[in-house]
Amino acid sequence: MSGRVHLYADREVCIGAGLCVLADGRVFDQDDEGIVVLVEERPTGGEGVQKAVRNCPSGALRLSED
């Protein structure tokens, strides 16, 4: 799966666990409060991005195929 995907991050729901950053640190970052920041909103849907969305503890992340 290497097409682009559209990422959505709900910053109100995010608890700042940082698992997304561990899964793919080029696409996801945390701000100073620990809340998710999307470095890339339309990244290629690689394994790291899939893992990040699947394992987000709070369910703050969603993706849709472009």
Binding site: I15, G16, A17, G18, L19, V21, L22, A23, Q30, D32, E33, G34, I35, K51, R54, N55, P57, S58, G59
Partner: protein, 405 residues
């Protein structure tokens, strides 16, 4: 002391029973056949035990139907808390994120999250390296044999969390003993209640000192920046849960994890010699060891169906994390330790809004301490017969482990 009379059960419930590193065979069987089973728990309650990886994720993701806050209504019917009214119980839960559901939980959690970001952990890293080296130096000076638990596994996370919070390290003998007893489920309830009181008094004094003169560490920061919005009871609760959770868990990972590596020498060598092997190895050790037997219990707020079982409203649900982490439906050969595969997606830190706040800190500590230990003592070996496994404790771990080098 009659355990049966006081705790209501004479042996640990099935989700807490281990043989060496492994959950007992009966637990695996329950997972693979019954899937969701009725069990008797240490709090005199019957609960639905969820065992499969996907079912546990479903429960932990849903704080509306599976509530932490509602569990307090059940606890008030239990021995030890029966003397307290609702207001008093609420006072004691203040500041503990595990006692709340969103939105109250969200507010509390967000006050603490900035202290545990990955960035913050990287800033802490040099100090963690220093602390680890100091303890390895002391072990080296003392010469073999050494008790790895007393000299490495316990003091390192203890010192780190004390520094992070602003707790005097000189108090550690006192609170370490108390915390150990508090989480030891073979200790009678009245005694644990007494310890909880002592613990509360200790933290109340600590908080009062910070309020009078805020220090530079986390407690002082909370007082300085959020003193208007957080109550004293909340500060006491926050200090308690972070201190307890901050050392009782990582210490057990360092102890059990070291033993696991010693018993898998080829994997130990990889973790020692290959820096790229460390990060996945830590995740795989977290999964395989699953030291926290279950997260907090949940109370259903409505009738639910989980794992094909219908559970009524107002029933207790508990997640068997060790069973879920070894679910064959989640990964192949789950009972095998294989540090090369370690990936996020295990449930050792839980899931959902209560996912372990300290996970970034725990990871940082383990990523530093394990390789440092193995490199300092390349000939590290277990002294046979000295590994003592805890038998009935909220967090699994070793009571002792003698090593030589």
């Amino acid at each position: 002391m009659s355990e049966t009379a006081i705790t209501g059960i004479s042996q640990p419930p099935i989700h807490m029973r281990r043989e060496g590193f492994d959950p007992v065979a009966e637990l695996a069987e329950l997972r693979d056949t019954e899937r969701v089973a009725r069990v008797h728990t240490p709090f005199g309650l019957d609960a639905w035990m969820v065992t499969r990886h996907d079912d546990v994720r479903e429960v932990l993701s849903d704080s509306v139907r599976f509530s932490n806050a509602q569990m307090l209504t059940v606890r008030s019917a239990l021995p030890g808390l029966e003397g307290m009214d609702e207001a008093e119980i609420r006072r004691r839960q203040a500041g503990n994120p595990l006692s709340f559901d969103p939105p109250e939980h969200t507010r509390l959690r967000r006050l603490l999250t900035p202290e545990f970001t990955l960035r913050r952990m990287r800033r802490l890293e040099p100090r963690i390296v220093e602390i680890v080296d100091e303890h390895l130096d002391a072990m080296q000076r003392g010469g073999p044999p050494a008790d790895l638990i007393a000299e490495f596994a316990l003091p390192i996370p203890s010192l780190v969390i004390c520094e992070l919070l602003g707790v005097p390290y000189s108090d550690r003998a006192e609170f370490q003993h108390r915390t150990n007893q508090l989480l030891d489920l073979s200790v009678a309830v009245p005694e644990r209640m007494r310890l909880a009181e002592e613990s509360r008094a200790y933290f109340a004094e600590l908080v009062a000192r910070e309020q009078a003169d805020p220090g530079e560490a986390m407690l002082g920061m909370l007082v300085r920046e959020h003193g208007q919005e957080i109550s004293t009871d909340e500060l006491i609760g926050i200090a308690s849960i972070l201190l307890i959770a901050g050392h009782e868990t990582t210490s057990n990972m360092l102890g059990l994890g070291s033993l696991a590596l010693l018993r898998h020498p080829d994997q130990l060598a990889r973790m020692r010699d290959d820096p790229d092997a460390v990060e996945p190895a830590v995740e795989e050790l977290l999964r395989w060891l699953s030291i926290v037997h279950s997260g907090t219990f949940k109370l259903t707020t409505t009738e639910v169906e989980i794992g094909g079982v219908r559970v009524g409203e107002g029933e207790v649900v508990m997640c068997a994390l060790a069973a879920a982490n070894r679910d064959p439906a989640a990964l192949p050969e789950p009972d095998r330790l294989d540090i090369s595969r370690g990936a996020i997606g295990h449930l050792a830190f839980g899931h959902g809004v209560h996912h372990c706040l300290g996970a970034p800190l725990a990871r940082m500590e383990m990523r530093t301490a394990f390789p440092a230990l193995l490199r300092r003592f390349p000939g590290l070996a277990e002294v046979p017969g000295t590994a003592g496994f805890r038998s009935f404790h909220a967090v699994y771990g070793l009571t002792s482990l003698q090593v030589t080098w």
